[in-house]
Amino acid sequence: MIDRGLLWILVVAWLVVLATPCTARVTGLCANCHTMHNSQNNVAVNSAGPNNALLNSNCAGCHQGQNTGTNTTPYVFDPTGPVYGSTGTESQSNTLAGGNFYWVAQGYNAAGHNVAGITSQDPRLGNTPPGGSALSGRLTCAGTNGCHGDRSVGDSTKAMLGSHHYNDSSVWKDGSTTANSYRFLKGIQGLEDTSYEYHPVSSSHHNKYYGVARSSETDTATGTISSLCAECHGDFHDGNGNLVPASESFGAGVWVRHPTDFDMASAQSSSEYQGYNGGTGTDNPYSIISPVATTDKTTTLNTTVYSQSGDAIVMCISCHRAHGSPFDASLRWDYKSWPAGGYNGCAVCHTTKD
């Protein structure tokens, strides 16, 4: 006979398990995302014709809405106008780690990626990303001309096969498959915040980005979030002569472009970076305003910086939002208006430049 106390404990444990939020794997009714016949009550679900994978909609269709903190689908495009604040991290903000496509969709072309289906083509750049070569077509969410999914597959939807149903945000994403890649960016590593950095908290709740502490500008830093950016904006990340003048060595402090995938702890020319985010060079608090990547691949969240080797790595998204922001160059803060106004997020790292 089972002891009543033990039974009670088991019941409580089971309830706890049930109440634990899922780790971003798609849940719920199939019909939330799929339609078997592109028809519901004799009306076409998608008037333009059925979608691949029997989907109700496309990427933008599903990931469109206003984040509330309770939505399990991350909304990257809020056509009603999201609240960003000064840095996208304030308590009133309702954008996520990648920012939001709203502003670029409003025609502010410099404020984000001009992704097909969400925005019109950038009239200044066409399909040629700064620092890279022309794409074969419009920028898309996924696939050959996109960022997410398998970038060797042309079709956006096909590129995402095997992702949403196999996601597990509780583990370190090692990039081995699309599902095992950080935010389904195939090949990219990292640890995903389960709420996509809705109201991130430095000490407990944010993404953990993977970086490489490079010692050479020709190192492509495979698997890092910055290496993904480099697939289009290559000159800004790696390549002979793209970061360091011929007369200097990598890391000596003379850059011709702002470095990424570089550990600030290796900076030889200045010690100002040791003051990262108000710290002293040991166990500095992690900044959700200007985050850094780490070489650490464990599921332990990097809540401090300058705590271990390779944990202060500059990355593209230390300064930029991948999807969009209200600001030029899709920056995380209003750099352009500083110092008269705006916000100097640069000073999180460049601590003497404030």
Binding site: S247, K336, T352
Partner: protein, 417 residues
């Protein structure tokens, strides 16, 4: 409940203190302390950097983008001026052309000259020479580049070359020689507040990441600020007489120009004379004087002064040789000093020392020195065996035969500088 009781007298005392505290608060100056860069000349929202192409793109004045291009482009294109290639320190063009070993300089030789140049293409910044800005002289040059493009100048290639080897912890091949003395992210508008050393524009090469001279002042020495105009003192006529308004330029300059460092001058084609400003070195430095002192005000005959390098020298360039100022101790030099071996040096010396005219003795002629050399009570040389000093030539002889940094009369052992 705790009740604190006080007598009416105590109550009045507390009220008075509270009122006094409030009044003191009101009287405190309303100051908004910005960061180091925002306090700098370049980061100022009123006076800071402003590149036309960046300004028209909507960037605020003082923004980093006026000098730096983080990706060697903005919006997929390189803003003007377009150099075509990314530049060191992510600057908009080459920092310094190290093939330029001698002046005169042009804008493209040095990144700083794109603004610090009277006809600059980016932003015309007006700067006067030290003689004018701090020494009450009239106008001669109106930009830093113009100051360099004179008879003598602080050779930029030599600075760059020396700094690469001596300050390699932060100074690299791609660095700008101006940065040896100035940190562009810290340097303040000293020229606008010439008697307030808190607005220092200089950083010691060995301490590049801090301003120098804000609290380290010439008043730490036995220093007398020279006249600026009339009996007013440098800097700019409102300086403290004891050097309390003047940065410690001795420590600053001797960071490089000291007895240890060998510095080659491409301009002169030789190593520079080593400067020993210690008590074992020059009398114009900390060495005690010997004999008397026949001297002009504000200096007194008791001597014992330590001069600032900038009492006699310009930091950037001069119409005289060897960076000699055109105005010293409250008066302009009678004429330019254009050659080394000349007695025209008297134009400089007489700004502080009594020549025959001022002494009303000797030849009684201006810029002649018979009195101090041969007739003054402490005269060092008896007027006999003239040829030992004067040779067979005509008198007077060039000052520089005997007087220069580190000069010692090998015959008499006298310290001659």
């Amino acid at each position: 409940m705790v009740v604190i009781r006080s007598s009416p007298g105590q109550h009045k005392g507390v009220c008075f203190l509270a009122a006094l505290f409030f009044v003191v608060l009101l009287l405190l100056p309303c100051q908004l302390w910005a960061g180091e860069y925002l306090d700098s000349a370049h980061g100022s929202t009123l006076h800071g950097v402003k590149r036309p192409s960046i300004d028209s793109a909507g960037y605020a004045r003082g923004n980093c983008a006026h000098c730096h291009e983080q990706h060697a482009s903005i919006d997929g294109a390189e803003p003007e001026p377009s150099s075509g290639t990314p530049s060191p320190f992510a600057l908009f063009t080459t920092n310094f052309d190290s093939s330029k070993t001698l002046g005169p300089y042009s804008e493209s030789d040095n990144f700083c000259f794109y603004c610090h140049n009277a006809t600059a293409s980016i932003q015309v910044v007006t700067n006067y020479d030290y003689s004018q800005n701090f020494g009450c002289a009239g106008l001669q040059v109106s930009s830093i580049m113009d100051a360099f493009n004179q008879a003598s100048y602080h050779n930029l290639y030599d600075i760059w070359s020396f700094a690469r080897s001596s300050f390699s912890s932060w100074f690299t091949n791609g660095s700008n020689p101006c940065n040896a003395c100035h940190n562009p992210h810290l340097a303040r508008r000293n020229w606008a507040y010439p008697s307030d050393p808190l607005y220092s524009a200089i950083s010691k090469p060995t301490d590049h990441f801090n301003l120098w001279g804000t609290t380290s002042l010439m008043s730490a020495y036995s220093y007398e600020s020279p006249y600026c105009s009339g009996t007013s003192r440098e800097p700019t006529g409102s300086g403290a007489s004891n050097g309390g308004s003047t940065p410690d330029y001795v420590s600053f300059c001797t960071n490089c120009h000291n007895p240890s460092n060998t510095i080659y001058s491409t301009s002169l084609g030789r190593d520079l004379v080593k400067i020993d400003w210690s008590s074992q070195g020059d009398k114009h430095g900390a060495r005690n004087m010997d004999g008397g002192l026949d001297i002009e005000g504000p200096y007194g005959s008791s001597g014992g002064y330590v001069l600032s390098c900038l009492d006699c020298h310009e930091p950037h360039g001069s119409s005289n040789i060897l960076l000699i100022r055109r105005r010293v101790n409250g008066g302009d030099l009678h004429d330019s000093i254009t050659t080394y071996s000349t007695n025209y040096w008297g134009y400089l010396c007489t700004r502080c020392h009594l020549d025959d005219y001022d002494a009303n003795a000797g030849t009684k002629e201006p810029y002649r020195w018979r009195y101090v050399h041969h007739e003054a009570p402490d005269h060092p040389y008896t007027a006999m065996r003239c040829g030992q000093c004067h040779g067979g030539g005509s008198m007077p002889i060039p000052c520089t035969n005997c007087h220069y940094h580190g000069a010692v009369d090998s015959r008499t052992g006298l310290i001659n500088f």
